[in-house]
Structure formats: structure tokens, C-alpha cells
Amino acid sequence: MTEIFGVPIQALFGQLMLGLVNGSFYAVLSLGLAVIFGMLNIINFAHGALYMAGAMLAWMGMEYLGIGYWWMLVLAPISVGLIGIAIERLMLQWLYKLDHLYGLLLTFGLALMIEGLFRDLYGVAGQPYSIPEEFSGAFNLGFMFLPKYRAWIVFASLSVCLATWYMVEKTRLGAYLRAATENPQLTQAFGINVPLMVMLTYGFGVGLAGFAGVLAAPASQVGPLMGSNLIIVVFAVVVIGGMGSILGSVVTGLGLGIIEGMTKVFWPEASATVVFMIMAVVLMFRPAGLFGREK
């Protein structure tokens, strides 16, 4: 069997595939963060908690109401989005004029409260959520055994990322959004309701987090700590890609997933830190991130 650095090439393909799966989560989550930062200038620390809330909602729907995975894949992101809109209307909107730090502190506090609430209600060990029947089983790709559900994760995330990119970059609504980001006063002067757009953007951004949460529910344990384990890496992804860059966050998310996957083979102990090493290097040479523009 052909080997690269002592690792059989087939095993390497397997790890690449897994890196892609993890990268998909990074992509969807960092996309939400990028959209929110681009529009609201808010560093949304509650993103991880809302991702967790999406997964918990999926579980609660199944447990209490008997609503299956497919419905929850639509309903949970909408509910999380509505929670986001409530947060934006009641709290965030008063902070836009202030320093970034205030938004960061507020959302960080919210994250702690949301996590604390679920921890108090359900404990930390988490809840079981099984893979939907359509996706039980696996594809035998020859070089690896790829669970069908993991393949679906990649497909679903990439579709959502692509749709978001298309909407922001190619549609009229997206054009309004970009205009409002660039110059809110002027855009408002053209008769576009900027506060409404800001509100919907935040709802959409956190809705993406909720969507990722539902996607993750069958693949990992559904518990109150699942968001905080992931969110720090996602922030690093956003920083590397460039704050506010949509394409940047998607490409970086996938790329870093793959790099992390490779690290797990060659130097597993470092797999939790490799993303931050890359972040440090990128910041040294391109402070605005790989895809960001200096202001």
C-alpha cells in the first residue's frame, strides 16, 4: 500500500473526508458570525449557545412533541432566529452606537445564561439523539467507511453556505444589505428600512447557528456544553478568514477543518491548538485576515 510519511494513503483520504465534515460545521457557524459582524458590528459571543439551543430544540421536539428530524431542521432554526430577533430588539439595538466591547460583553453574558439554563434543567451529560432512519448505515468508499449522515452534513452545509453567498452577493436584497453595511444613513435616506434589515440579519445569522445545531445533534452528544467546546475554534476561523467576509469564512472553515483533520493523524496532541497557531501566523502577515479588507 502506498504510504505518505508512514500513513497509508487510504487512511489519509479517510481523514481528509472527516476534516471536510468538521469543516462544514465551522463554515456554517463562522458564516453566521461573519454576516452578523459585517452588518451589525457585533461580535456575537452567544453564537455557540444558540448553536447548542438549536440542538436542544431538536431533541426537545422529538422528546416532548414527537416531531422528527426533518421538521426540526426547519423549525429549530426559525425558533432560534426568533429568539435572536427578540435579543436584537430588546437588548442589542441599544448598543450599536457604543464600542464593540459592549456588544461582546452582552452576548457573552447571554451565552452564559442560556447555557446555565439548559444545564440546570437537563444536567451536563447530555441527551441521546439518534440518526434519522434515512441516513442510518454507511457508504463503503473503498478507502473508508463513510456514515451516510456525515455525507449529508457536508451536502446540507455547503448548500446553505452557497445559498447565503448567492443571496448576499447576487440578489437585490443582498445589495440593500451591503449598502446598509457600507453607509447606513445614506441607505436609509433612499427609503430602505435599515433597522428592520439589521434585525432580520441578526435573526438569520443566529438561525444559521441553530441550523448547525440540528445538523450536529445526531452526530454528537446533545448537551449544554457542546457550544462552548466549539465556539472558540469558530472565532479563530472568522479571524483567519477576515471579519465580515462571507466567502472568506466559508473557505477558511472548510480549509481549517481539513488541516485539523490532518493534524489528528500526524500529531494528535496538537489538534486542539493547530487552528490557533495558524491564526497567529495569519495575523502576523495579514492582520485583516486572509479574505478581509483593511479599513
Binding site: P8, A11, G14, Q15, L18, G19, V21, N22, G116, R119, G123, V124, A125, G126, Q127, P128, S130, I131, A138, M144, F145, P147, Y149, R150, A219, S220, Q221, G223, L225, M226, N229, L230, V233, G261, K264, V265, P268, E269, S271, A272, T273
Partner: protein
């Protein structure tokens, strides 16, 4: 001269109340007529389901039962605190308890890092710690303090030994480890490796993963590629849960046996039987062993809405054992109570014929369990087949191997 005398007088007058109260503590019956017990645990972090509020409830139950049975003349009080899995927070809290609140005994103390720090404070203040939650064998070896510390429920040796020996002897003799990359994981891997080798097995390799890794599929693929018959999980809590879930998804469970080295009924309940069936591991307690365990566990269930973990049952037993020793000797003096506890066999819902060895290790039977198939489970929480009762003498590290200086001196 006169001045110096005066100064000495004043100094001794200041010291007098202090020595007076110290005397009262050692010679008197029970200090302040109150026996004060403290539960120190993780109330909000990764181990809070394993110990946490359940440990406080278990301690309350023990006090209730003790009062009902013995009608003691002294009062018993319970306090508790969250150590947040931080050694400094834990040891500061315990110091405060001993110094200002008259706490006599502290229990649960899960998390080995915290437990080792708290054991030091306990020895310094000459109080008692009955550890029901921490796993490290250091507490009865390098860091042993047999005149103040009892290691009650389990340790990494006991956890590793059961499956390491029994599973290997079943012919599943090649192992691969998934190890949490910190002291606890490394020690669990080392202890298991020794047990596997002693039983004639072979270890093919190991992969060290970071603590709280969000995805385990990559590590499991490496375990799969090793072709080992057994994959040992030298990790705990959420890491174990996520490893098992991914193992199932990637089809490892078809050809390889997954052995959790620190798995409890809490993890099985969180994952469900379809995912965990066939897993083997060591437990210190199971609610459905006999009439007594069932009665205790049902009462616990009524309060907590979940069955007790071995930590909960162990905390109940630890508090009971301590209070019985205080009742029998009529004092809360550390040396007297410790002596009594060492002399008295332990028989309650948690342990039968348990005894505290001279190194501070409480030895009792452990259980090698296998998780039932969903079809075999008749009711909620009906999870285990007991494959083997590991007798107390074999379950724990033999005294001959002890690295405890206090024991070696004798």
C-alpha cells in the same frame, strides 16, 4: 526586666484562649456538640451529573437514616460547595470550613487534582477527608495520608484492572487506546496496559486526544485501522460519551469491543442502550444488585429523578461510616474516629464486608458489567448484566505494591 515579664504575661494571656479551645477539641467529647460534614464537589461543570447535587442529596439521606436509627445526642449539620474543578478554589474553601466553621469531615471531593490539594489541607489541619469521587491512585500511594484520608469508592487501578484482565482473558487480547491527553488519562492507560500484559495480551498503540475534543471520528478511524480487538477509552465524561457515539456511527462496534475505563451509569443513560450495548467496564455500585441497593436507589430516585452513580452511593456510605464511628466513640476527635473506622467492617447498601486498609484504601467488591441489549432491558435504568464480581482483595492494588511512605515505614 519588669517590662519583659509584663510582656510575657500579656503574650501568654493572649495565647491562653487559643490553647484552651485546642485542648477542649482534643479532650472534649464533641466540639460544640455539632458534627459538621461538608460535601465538596463539582456543581456545574463536566462532572456535575456524576457527583454534584446528587452527592449532597446522598449525604442528606445518610444523615437522616443515621438520626432515625441511632437517635444521637449530638447535632449533625451538612454544608456543601462547588469547587468548579479548580484545586485552589477547593482547597481555599476547605481551609475556610476547617478554620472558621468547625467542619469535621469533607467528602465527595471528585476530580483528582482538587482531591490531592484538599488532602494536603486536611492533613495540615488534622481533619478527615473521605474521598468518594477522585480516581487517582496517588491518594493512597505517593500522596497518601492514612491518618486523615480514606479513598472510598474506586481508583484508576480498580477501573483498569477489571476489564484489563477479564476482557483479555476472554481472548480479546489486542488493545488500542484512546487516551485523554492529561495526567488522569495517562495513568489510566498505564494501569490498563499493565493489566493487559499481565493477562497475556498485547497493546498495539494509542492515540492521545485533547481534553474536550469536539469530534472523535478521526481518532476512532485510527483505532479502527489498528485492527486491535479491543478499543480502550482512557477518558471520562463528555469525551467518553462522544467517543462511544462516534464508534457506533463508524461501525467499530461490529468488529471491535469498546471498553470504557471510566464509564458510569450516567454515561449509559445519556447515550441509551442502542448505542452502548455490549460495552464492558468496571463499576463500584449498581442499583439493581439486591433488595438493599434497590431500596436505597429508589429512595434516591424519588429525590433526584435519576438512579445513583457509584459516587452517590459511595458518598452515602462514607457519611454513614463516619457518623457510626463518631457515635461509637462519642467524640469527633480525628485520631479516635479514624481508628474506629479502620477497625470496623463496612456493611451497608453500598459495600458488603468493606474495610479500610492501612494505606487509607477502602476495599470492597467491584463489578465487571456488560451493557444489556435494548431487548433485554425490562424497565428504565435496567442497563447491566453483572459479568463478574471482582472480590475486594483482587479489585484494588495489592499492599505489596504500595508506594505509600507511611505504610513502608511500618
Amino acid at each position: 526586666m519588669m517590662k519583659r515579664k509584663l510582656l510575657a504575661l500579656a503574650l501568654s494571656a493572649m495565647l491562653l484562649p487559643a490553647t484552651g479551645s485546642a485542648l477542649a477539641q482534643t479532650t472534649g467529647k464533641i466540639s460544640g456538640d455539632v458534627v459538621k460534614i461538608a460535601v465538596l464537589t463539582d456543581m456545574s461543570g463536566v462532572y456535575s451529573d456524576l457527583g454534584g447535587k446528587g452527592s449532597v442529596v446522598a449525604a442528606e439521606m445518610a444523615i437522616e437514616d443515621f438520626k432515625a436509627q441511632f437517635k444521637p445526642k449530638f447535632k449533625v449539620e451538612l454544608v456543601s460547595a462547588d469547587h468548579q474543578n479548580k484545586a485552589d478554589v477547593g482547597s481555599n474553601k476547605v481551609r475556610e470550613w476547617y478554620d472558621t466553621q468547625g467542619v469535621d469531615m469533607v467528602t465527595d471531593v471528585l476530580n483528582s487534582g482538587v482531591a490531592i490539594a484538599v488532602a494536603k489541607v486536611t492533613t495540615e489541619k488534622n481533619k478527615i477527608m473521605i474521598n468518594a469521587g477522585a480516581a487517582s491512585t496517588r491518594l493512597t500511594n505517593e500522596d497518601c495520608a492514612p491518618s486523615n484520608v480514606v479513598h472510598y469508592v474506586y481508583d484508576t487501578y480498580a477501573l483498569a484492572n477489571g476489564p484489563g484482565t477479564a476482557v483479555t482473558k476472554q481472548g480479546k487480547d489486542t488493545w488500542f487506546f484512546l487516551t485523554a491527553d492529561y495526567a488522569f488519562g495517562a495513568s489510566l492507560e498505564k494501569d490498563t496496559t499493565e493489566a493487559v500484559k499481565a493477562a497475556g495480551g498485547k497493546v498495539l498503540g494509542a492515540v492521545r486526544h485533547p481534553l474536550n475534543a469536539s469530534d472523535f471520528s478521526s481518532f476512532l478511524l485510527q483505532a479502527q485501522a489498528s485492527k486491535a480487538k479491543v478499543v480502550g477509552l482512557a477518558n471520562a465524561g463528555g469525551d467518553t460519551i462522544n467517543s462511544i457515539k462516534a464508534a457506533n456511527e463508524f461501525g467499530l462496534t461490529k468488529n471491535q469491543t469498546i471498553v470504557g475505563l471510566l464509564t458510569t451509569i450516567i454515561d449509559i443513560h445519556a447515550l441509551g442502550l442502542p448505542t452502548t450495548q455490549g460495552m464492558m467496564f468496571t463499576e463500584g455500585f449498581y442499583w439493581d444488585l439486591n433488595k438493599e441497593t434497590r431500596e436505597f436507589s429508589r429512595r434516591f430516585f424519588d429525590k433526584m429523578k435519576k438512579m445513583p452513580s457509584m459516587l452517590h452511593a459511595g458518598t452515602y456510605s462514607a457519611v454513614t461510616t463516619y457518623l457510626k464511628a463518631v457515635q461509637a466513640t462519642g467524640t469527633d476527635d480525628t485520631a479516635t474516629v479514624m481508628k474506629k473506622m479502620h477497625e470496623t467492617p463496612i456493611n451497608d447498601a453500598f459495600a458488603k464486608g468493606g474495610r479500610i486498609r492501612e494505606d487509607g484504601r477502602m476495599v470492597h467488591d467491584m463489578y465487571l458489567v456488560e451493557v444489556k441489549k435494548p431487548s433485554e432491558s425490562k424497565e428504565p435504568w435496567d442497563y447491566y448484566n453483572i459479568k463478574q464480581v471482582i472480590p475486594a482483595e483482587q479489585a484494588f492494588q495489592p499492599m505489596a505494591l504500595s508506594r505509600c511512605p507511611a505504610v513502608a515505614k511500618k
